[in-house]
Symmetry: D2
Subunit: 262 residues, 4 copies
Amino acid sequence: MQDTQDFPDHRKIKIAKVGIKDVSHPIFFSDIDENETVTFPSTASFSFFVELSATKKGTHMSRFPLILYEFAPYFNLIKLEEMARNINQKLESRISFIETKFTYFYEKLAPVSKTKGLADIKIHIKIKTNSQNNLTETQLIIQIPVKSLCPCSKAISEYGAHSQRSHITITLWNPKISIKECIRIAENSASSAIYPVLKRVDEKFVTEKAYNTPRFVEDLVREAAIQIKEKSNSSRFTVSAENFESIHNHNAWALVSSDDLM
Amino acid sequence: MQDTQDFPDHRKIKIAKVGIKDVSHPIFFSDIDENETVTFPSTASFSFFVELSATKKGTHMSRFPLILYEFAPYFNLIKLEEMARNINQKLESRISFIETKFTYFYEKLAPVSKTKGLADIKIHIKIKTNSQNNLTETQLIIQIPVKSLCPCSKAISEYGAHSQRSHITITLWNPKISIKECIRIAENSASSAIYPVLKRVDEKFVTEKAYNTPRFVEDLVREAAIQIKEKSNSSRFTVSAENFESIHNHNAWALVSSDDLM
Amino acid sequence: MQDTQDFPDHRKIKIAKVGIKDVSHPIFFSDIDENETVTFPSTASFSFFVELSATKKGTHMSRFPLILYEFAPYFNLIKLEEMARNINQKLESRISFIETKFTYFYEKLAPVSKTKGLADIKIHIKIKTNSQNNLTETQLIIQIPVKSLCPCSKAISEYGAHSQRSHITITLWNPKISIKECIRIAENSASSAIYPVLKRVDEKFVTEKAYNTPRFVEDLVREAAIQIKEKSNSSRFTVSAENFESIHNHNAWALVSSDDLM
Amino acid sequence: MQDTQDFPDHRKIKIAKVGIKDVSHPIFFSDIDENETVTFPSTASFSFFVELSATKKGTHMSRFPLILYEFAPYFNLIKLEEMARNINQKLESRISFIETKFTYFYEKLAPVSKTKGLADIKIHIKIKTNSQNNLTETQLIIQIPVKSLCPCSKAISEYGAHSQRSHITITLWNPKISIKECIRIAENSASSAIYPVLKRVDEKFVTEKAYNTPRFVEDLVREAAIQIKEKSNSSRFTVSAENFESIHNHNAWALVSSDDLM
């Protein structure tokens, strides 16, 4: 049977990335310092790409889901990087790319009553591996929901201050700190952490803590940047924050890059 | 050329709705009491369906975009209902359905400084017309963003109270009140209205107003229900509210139905 | 500490549904005839509501995530219905509602080479339980991706026929047939099933099978309706189909209801 | 009244981007060679950011919607770049950023019957302006829906070939070619253009044209890259394509970058 993909291509145009997008798969993802047996399962969306040389007509798309099927369901960053190298082998490519997005769950206690619940954050990972120089670039992107309370609103008002849910997004290149450390950093940078379950004693605590810790969207990213720099040393990172403003129908957003901190 | 759709169908199964979904089109939509020349343009997504009798193999899909092209871009509820009747004629159907979703814009002044900006709400309309008994059922669904501040958080805390953006959604069957009246009702039911532009004097006003007007998600829908019932008399309606809680990563939600108010 | 929610409410308006939306949680969902130990994990989004009597100011939102935490992660329809009854107990409500959405995974072999991969479909479940008359209404909504090939395009063209990905959505009230049976019905109604992995022998099979089995969007729902009626006897159901038309930037859609088959 | 944003900041961390996201506004966007009076209206989502120096506590968020209100609704690339420079003035910033996303409409005739309808594509624009060196970088991102038919499926099957809707996305840095030229290029690279309205003679034409013009996702981007390079000379660009595969529940995707064509 004819293998059209293996035909030579006469247009002589290299394809930087070609592959498949949005493959759903169950996974168990464990943090840097975490044993895979204790993690909660999740549903990941995967994308796989390879570089295609200028002389080949097409890549072999069916090999990607087979490789995923072989490597799944237990993953951490090291195992994803192994899978990226395996793609280069099986597809005879120079460069391979993996992207995956999933919800990461962890147990979290209410601040006063210590009531237990399951918290969730969003993880996005991008891996690029070069089989010739054996270099791998890994981006770990973590989106953590927190609470922000506006310093301006507090300063100018006789009582109260508007607050809202915010997302702090930390992007680490070749990360040296754990997901749980990033969650702690984001929550320390915010007006307050948020929780899956709050009894009344906890709600009082969160309300007063936020009122005592007003933060602009600019403060969220600056506070987080200081802490990430301290922990991750010379690694590259960005941190952004988005406030779902409770006084507008649009959001406030800010970003600090480690490039500006050198 | 063979017209496969016009073949008889031997399975004898009536199709309740068949047509096309998610057709984008520019529109100018005017409120009940509004002149079409003063409305802001918007981008609508349209869906069109007809009932198909048990004996016909297929409907003529290409007629729907032609009818839309003919009727667009100036619309109000009456014109949409006309278009629904026109579909029954052109597709020789007993029942036709139109759905459309779009953003509705209007000018809104900041509460103290009176600074002008453009506010936006979401509109969703569903029309069903029966050509035999000439009855039309029209649903107007209006989603208005507002601010809510938690009465429990205020009552138990020494200072502050958590607040968040909320959506109030009013659904009217064969509506007798205007979109702008629904916006007023939603804003009167909330802890505060929200605005496209706020100067500092306005932000102080909104913060203090919200602190003085705490509302649970249950209060939002009850307050709105009382006002809608008053204005719309015996018409059927529902009102729901969703709070994007600033202390959780999930939302609070409530719904009142006019069926329970009789 | 003051319990604002427990205050009496003087507006005398019953709230039909109040609770929390979009709580993420890991689950293992097993089919009617399936042992929970063999199912793949998934990430579910849950919503929980109760009816609130006209005399109560608010419901106790924090009890919902506690109940979920207690019942998770192993679920099937019966266990979800138990959780709905438990909500009525713990929140002292007459009616409770659960909604959940998740991806359901199952192993699927390529049609000729028998290469194994993981297929995914979307599940949406809605449960309503009345604690007074002990009646429960359960809706199981299953969205199955398939392939459709246009009979008109085939009939009028000298070669080829346009095809596209389609979604068949089966909604069952108090379902008596399994998820896997619904998948078989949807695939038998389509021009062809679709697969996670296809070798070239499989792609040839799927292409020719689809060309030999042209189906309008109207055919998809009629074929499926006949089979569901046969299997589920007198139960209520609807079946809809959406074609992501490869010749348009909009979709074709159709729905058959069991109400029209009596 | 205290201006908290104007306070000095002692953390000494520059903020690369800070501003507001997802502001909805009606616009009339005209192509390079187009008169603004003939364009169709649309609904745009805008984001505005500025760089914030390490010594300032906060930016003045309320100025962004005021600037938009002043410049809207008539836009083209030149006017958007003017608005970016105006932001630098009004917010006293060194660098400003504008992003906007909207649907662009244009009239399109069916290929044989010449039936008229309204076609829609997605536009995404990113502008970055530096007030010190007066340099502006503008990215124009255009997503055009087309039809692809698989060469492998055609080659190995006795009849038929699977086809699907595809998106071709062209990204131009400081674009020299028009939106309409990009649409022509994308459609010339595909198995066939797609249309808002097709009569049967048109459907026959599209079906046969696609069968005669099979294209892998790799072919879509290579064919488009050759044409864009020719027209846009030495400008930087990328072109990607996504096939919503009608034989899988995942998509195929490829990208060519002008960096690889030098």
